[in-house]
Amino acid sequence: MSHHDHHPEPTPLPSRLTEVLRAAHRTPMHPPELDQRVLRAFERHHAAPTILARLRPRRVLAAVAVLGLAAGAWLIVRAANYAPGDLNRDHRVDILDAMSLAIAAGDGRQVPDINRDNLQNVADADALVRQVVMLAARGST
């Protein structure tokens, strides 16, 4: 028999202590609902913040201002880019523009010189109509 094979016998616990320890493991220290509430609170506290929560009011205002300025600039540029024949300013040249031009020319008002003959008259309305019905300019098939 070697020296390492020797195991001393454990000292038995007092019976009263054994009973108290067993009783302590049987009854939980707090109710499970409390556990759940604590867990939920923990998750809420450590959850990643949402996009809205990250937004700062000043940054939001600045972004809105920049967007507003960009939209305004776009509208100004667009308004300045009317085609010469777009008399009613609806961003397309059609028969109603030609009619407007004919009426204006008939009333002696200023009209665009569509046919570039240095005269501003009803002939410009005819020229505009010819543009309107031209197939090549509209992707003839």
């Binding site: 009619m99 109509v129 010819r130 019905v133 197939l135």
Partner: protein
């Protein structure tokens, strides 16, 4: 001599027989273009095309109401094509209200395939070139 004459006769008959069996049938018809508007119609712009590529445009005439009896404006390049933009306006006081035929487009249909014309109203206007709500309809070979 007789042999030569017979040969020429046979060749002629064969040529005509061959030609008649190969040539596709051709017919002519017209497409009436109507615009309907609740307000008096003073201007319209309509695009008409044949989706089936079976017809070619051979003529365009005006409509039924005195305000639109003159042929509408169109690109002469549309002739012998299958697509046309029709547009007209009038400054007359007497204007049609409701459904009115504004144009008639004569077409030639070659082959057995029927045409499939589609009309799109680009815009319509009333007195003073004011834009109005309107619809366009077409009908093939109907009416006088």
């Amino acid at each position: 001599m007789i042999t030569r004459a017979l040969a020429i006769l046979l060749l002629t008959v064969a040529t005509f027989a061959h030609g008649s069996s190969e040539d596709p049938p051709v017919r002519f018809t017209f497409i009436n273009v109507y615009v309907s508007a609740v307000e008096p119609l003073a201007a319209y712009q309509v695009e008409l095309h044949d989706d089936a590529h079976a017809a070619t445009i051979v003529g365009i005439e005006g409509g039924e109401h005195p305000a639109f009896t003159a042929p509408p404006f169109y690109d002469p390049a549309a002739m012998s094509g299958e697509r046309v933009i029709l547009a007209a306006f009038t400054t007359q006081a007497d204007l049609p209200v409701g459904r009115t035929r504004v144009a008639r487009v004569h077409v030639q249909i070659t082959g057995m395939k029927p045409p499939s014309f589609v009309a799109t109203l680009t815009t319509a206007g009333t007195i003073g070139a004011k834009k109005i709500n309107a619809t366009v309809q077409i009908a093939e070979g109907v009416g006088s």
